[in-house]
Symmetry: C2
Subunit: 263 residues, 2 copies
DNA sequence: GGCGGATATCGTCAAACTGACGACAACCCA
DNA sequence: TGGGTTGTCGTCAGTTTGACGATATCCGCC
């Protein structure tokens, strides 16, 4: 059962024990973006059993010789046409990070399957093209999923959204939703969309521009819409996308009736 | 190769595809406690290859039919004699949560192996008994590991410590290191040990006792040592151990030279 | 019993930060 | 040119922090 593993091993004394289980492993991707002021998640329609025809997060089985990140990128590209830039784990637009692992029991009718979930934060872009095991790929506003997602993907999505909501409180990660250069108002729009709340423009501007090591002015102006043109900023160079640069953090407004967020 | 999986499946159309990889899965546990004012981690000496004789985090292979949490608890008990209470994922002393998943490539000389790491926060207690695949189990002060840990356990430990340091900033999780009833000074000692910094007793007392939904006085006094006896507290009933009850959070002092923490 | 040492708890105060909101600047369109 | 819209800067009261003084209540010891 462990032929491949043992073939790479010099001594039998150093092989994986025979009593150990071996599990199929999938990666599932919670891909989030901000479109028209609302947080959207990327879902696909399943072409195959189980849960055929139902909506699901993009994902699939890890192939031998692949890393988990590679599998996440490959499945995303196969099923949705989305290509994750190689630098997506660095600073700037796009951010890919591991969320957590689910399973192996009670989540797949085919048997025990482990799923490693990834969280992708991406700028808005055109509708991706479906392919692979997926019939259609589309952005769905978070909270308006028309039906239950396949497997335990509803739980995975909830965990991913909560992770994103929590992380933009103290990290520069909100910029992962923005193009390389963006205005303070664009960044504020990300916070409002991800949190689902209103944020005061003046106080946000003070905090965002006044935090050392966060934003860097480009000197140029972003024009277009009505109103005074806004200054363009980019992320400060060399920022760790998950570093706690907002110190003290920018806390979400406490909705009186809502329970405290938990991780 | 997928006999077990397919045997549980009604239709071949709904089986795990044959191209999918199947991986041995281990769980590794970062067990932390506070002893004598310092953060300690539980390590074992390996009895078997690979890395025989070297220190490692307790852990081992997931068996068929087990959940990941069950495997973590079983390996911990087999190798160190430590029994994790069943309620360890609730509030109060002991806390077990998933950290993240490592692998499958380049971390085990036996071949591709996936490792799901868990973080355990526990009150101090007597030296556990070694057993199973481990020669000796012992508490080691974090930062004073005499040698490199086996596999990628050095990285896993660093990730676990950083998770603990970050989470006690906003959650009541520091109480997981304390007995069911504890004094404010004991709780402060946990913060000092985990963060490795000094915390002002008066300001900490104000914040800890003044935060709604965090501590609940028992009315009794904890005596013993020199000085005025302190009031005993317990966690407020029904608190989510990872809820953001400290709002705004209790931030670690910023060491001028140190880089900002990242997750 | 009294005293010094140690720890717990309560107060004080200036600095920083937040949240609410006024005011003005700089653009678009009609 | 004027009104609408959005960006940026200021003001101000209330909250929170960090630093630290002061007092309370225990211990051990003489």
């Amino acid at each position: 059962m462990y032929g491949r593993v043992m073939a790479r091993t010099a001594h039998a004394s150093s092989a994986v024990p025979e009593t150990a289980g071996s599990f199929p492993v999938t990666v599932d991707v919670v891909a989030l973006t901000v479109r028209a002021g609302a947080l959207h998640v990327l879902v696909v329609d399943r072409l195959l059993e189980p849960f055929r025809g139902q909506s699901a997060l993009p994902g699939g089985f890890v192939l031998p010789g692949e890393t988990l990140e590679q599998a996440a990128g490959r499945e995303l590209e196969e099923e949705t046409g989305l290509t994750v830039p190689a630098r997506a784990t660095g600073a700037g637009p796009w951010h890919l990070e591991q969320l957590r692992t689910y399973g192996p029991l009670g989540r797949d009718p085919r048997g025990p399957v482990l799923s490693v979930a990834y969280l992708l934060l991406a700028p808005a872009f055109g509708l991706p093209a479906a392919g692979g095991d997926a019939a259609e790929a589309r952005w769905v506003p978070v909270g308006e999923e028309d039906e239950r997602l396949a497997f335990d993907h509803g739980q995975i999505l909830a965990d991913g959204v909560e992770r994103a909501r929590a992380k933009i409180e103290y990290s520069p990660l909100a910029a992962a939703f923005c193009p390389p250069e963006f205005t303070v108002a664009e960044l504020r729009g990300v916070y409002e969309a991800v949190w689902g709340t209103q944020v005061d423009a003046r106080n946000f501007h003070r905090k965002a521009t006044g935090t050392p090591g966060f934003l860097e002015p480009t000197g140029r102006l972003g024009g277009g819409g009505p109103g005074r043109p806004a200054e363009l900023y980019r992320l400060a160079p060399g920022v760790d996308p998950t570093a706690a640069v907002l110190h003290p953090p920018l806390l979400r407004p406490v909705s009186p009736g809502r329970a405290a967020p938990s991780a």
